[in-house]
């Protein structure tokens, strides 16, 4: 039968039952009106937002805040901001473990995190598990609430949409759901079950991009991962960029702008700012450095020395690059990225 005369509207008299399936803590307030109050007050002035990493981390990231990093663990992560957070000894942060690999490894090295929405944590994909990150979870130093990559991504999306939750069809029936903070709800139209996942509005996020103007209009090449939603969900947003370009250049390809200026609080030009992670079309992952990091974690004394060399002994990202081979090294990674050297 053709559907053109059927009314699919729900009968409306079915009993609505909510069931709390996730028993773990919800770390952030999902309330959309609370978020609206914040975003109402956020400036729309298109002004020069350039600053330093040191300033931005000191101004926008406070002890106890809930923090999220853009990128995908070993790809396009905001390394300069993460290192500065460790240098400034940020404490008791909440963290979105959305395929967090090397990003989490950095923050764990500084004991910055005490709670985590865990979709993917502790591991560095095929490279192995981080001993320090494992220990932080195994000793209870970091309190986890479980999610999956999609449900955590949709939690950003719910926030980006200005909502307090989204329905999802995954995690149902598993321990991942039981150890999350999800609620089971019926669909008001079909009666079918969904996992309602709460909006995640981080206090602050940091995202590294290919280019931005001084106002924070940002363009990213390659995959965007969850950054378009994260940029909209975060109450404060720090942008580091490979380069700052003129506003005219942004206006030449507005279709490539994924983060508009009014979402952004701070812009810092940090060339090679994703190092040692992969920056699409620019430089490949420094696998040697990441493998060294994984290995040296196994020896406490050696790791202290390693941190002094790579974080505490560096005043900024230039120093960190210099400590690891400088321009010569990043040029090798550029050749790898472009498949000149495999």
């Amino acid at each position: 039968m053709a559907n053109h005369k059927v009314d699919f509207h729900a009968s409306g008299d079915q009993e609505v039952k909510y069931k709390k399936i996730g028993k773990r803590r919800l770390f952030t307030n999902p309330d959309a009106d609370d978020a609206r109050e914040h975003f109402h007050a956020k400036s729309r002035r298109m002004v020069d937002k350039t600053t330093t990493v040191k300033e931005a981390v000191s101004k926008y990231i406070n002890d106890g805040d809930y923090f999220a990093a853009g990128g995908f663990g070993s790809n396009r992560i905001p390394s300069a901001v993460l290192h500065e957070m460790v240098r400034q000894k940020k404490k008791n942060l909440g963290f979105a473990g959305h395929t967090s690999t090397h990003d989490m490894q950095i923050l764990v090295a500084g004991n910055c995190i005490d709670r985590c929405d865990a979709a993917y944590v502790v591991g560095l994909e095929a490279r192995g598990l981080s001993k320090n990150a494992r220990k932080a979870f195994e000793t209870g130093e970091i309190e986890p609430t479980e999610w999956s990559n999609a449900t955590l991504a949709w939690r950003y999306k719910a926030a980006a949409m200005g909502l307090s939750f989204l329905p999802a069809r995954s995690i149902l029936g598993t321990d991942t759901a039981k150890y999350s903070a999800a609620v089971e709800i019926p669909c008001p139209y079909t009666g079918k079950r969904y996992a309602a996942v709460p909006a995640l509005y981080p206090d602050v996020a940091a995202i590294h991009v290919h280019k931005s103007d001084i106002y924070g209009n940002c363009q990213i090449r390659g995959i965007a991962i969850s950054d378009p939603d994260l940029a909209r969900a975060a109450k404060h947003l720090i942008i580091t960029t490979e380069k700052i370009v003129h506003n005219e250049e942004i206006r030449q390809s507005p279709h490539s702008t994924v983060i508009p200026y009014y979402l952004v609080d701070a812009v810092i030009e940090v060339p090679y700012g994703a190092y040692p992670s992969n920056m699409a079309y620019e430089y490949f992952t420094d696998e040697d450095h990441i493998m060294e990091w994984l290995k040296v974690e196994k020896d406490e004394e050696a790791f202290k020395e390693f941190l002094n060399k790579n974080i505490f002994g560096c005043k900024d990202h230039w120093d960190y690059l210099e400590a690891n081979g400088g321009l010569e090294r990043v040029n090798q990674l550029r050749r790898q990225e472009n498949l000149i050297d495999m």
């Binding site: 209870g140 995690i171 029936g173 321990d175 079918k192 991962i225 992969n278």
Partner: protein, 256 residues
């Protein structure tokens, strides 16, 4: 027939289950190698996707991360993680591959922890995208070594859903109907799932492997298909492509 190792056999067997003109979400490692081999043999129009946003790459080499730039090299689309996951939720993804520390007789997988949740003996990465892919893709496969500790019903934590507690339980929990575990490819056998009970069953046995060996290396009672065939070993052509084209540096097949 050439000599081959266990990893080469598993990759070849997995690749033959991937149909032409279908699509598959893969991670790095053996599943990626299986998909690349399928593209070069039986499924030239198989489309590969990665959960971080890569769609339809012409993979120049094995990616290291599921989000590195190889995953969309000469690709059709470089998009977002929500886009990939929503495509799965919409019912448009045929195959996926998972890994894990433990699997039970219904194909439920643990990749979260061993021990107590509050103070785990070993903390693993957790779901990542695995739960979503297992919930939402039509057919879920696994390439894994088979032993008693890994194939166990004393699973600590169900990270990703197999058939949960048996027939109908996925649907009862609210998961989309008619999808779930498909084939488990191990170093000993190819395991499928009994339609009535949704329990794991032996379908193919690798050359030289005995029933006793399979039973010894499984922590629960397996079912056996009415007719158990021998796994067809890799052909010379498959081996040549796998060794020279897919994994010339032996990153994956070197582990076999």
């Amino acid at each position: 027939m050439s000599d081959y190792n266990g990893m080469e056999l598993m990759i070849c067997l997995a690749s033959r289950y991937l149909e032409d003109d279908a699509n598959v979400v893969v991670g790095t490692g053996a599943p990626c190698a299986a998909a690349m081999l399928a593209q070069r043999t039986s499924a030239p129009n198989l489309m590969i996707m990665f959960e971080a946003g890569g769609i339809g790459p012409q993979l120049p080499s094995m990616p290291i991360s599921v989000g590195d730039s190889r995953t969309y090299y000469k690709g059709l689309v470089s998009t977002s993680m929500p886009e990939i996951m929503e495509t799965c939720q919409r019912g448009m993804v045929d195959y996926t591959f998972l890994g894990g520390a433990q699997i039970d007789m219904y194909g439920n997988i643990n990749s979260t922890h061993v021990g107590d949740y509050e103070k785990p003996k070993v903390r693993f990465p957790g779901s990542g995208g695995a739960n979503d892919l297992a919930s939402l893709c039509w057919r879920t496969m696994m390439i894994t070594p088979q032993d008693k500790n890994r194939f166990t019903n004393n699973i600590n934590f169900i990270t990703s859903p197999g058939f949960l507690t048996g027939k109908g339980s996925r649907e009862e929990a609210g998961l989309p109907p008619n999808c779930g575990p498909y084939k488990i490819i191990t170093n000993l056998a190819v395991l499928g799932f009994d339609e009535e009970t949704c329990r794991m069953r032996v379908e193919l046995m690798h050359p030289g492997v005995t029933r006793e060996q399979i039973i010894e290396n499984t922590g629960f009672e397996l079912l056996w298909a009415p007719e158990i065939l021998d796994s067809l070993p890799p052909s010379d052509e498959e081996l040549e492509i796998l060794r020279n084209d897919v994994d010339p540096r032996r990153y994956i097949i070197g582990r076999g």
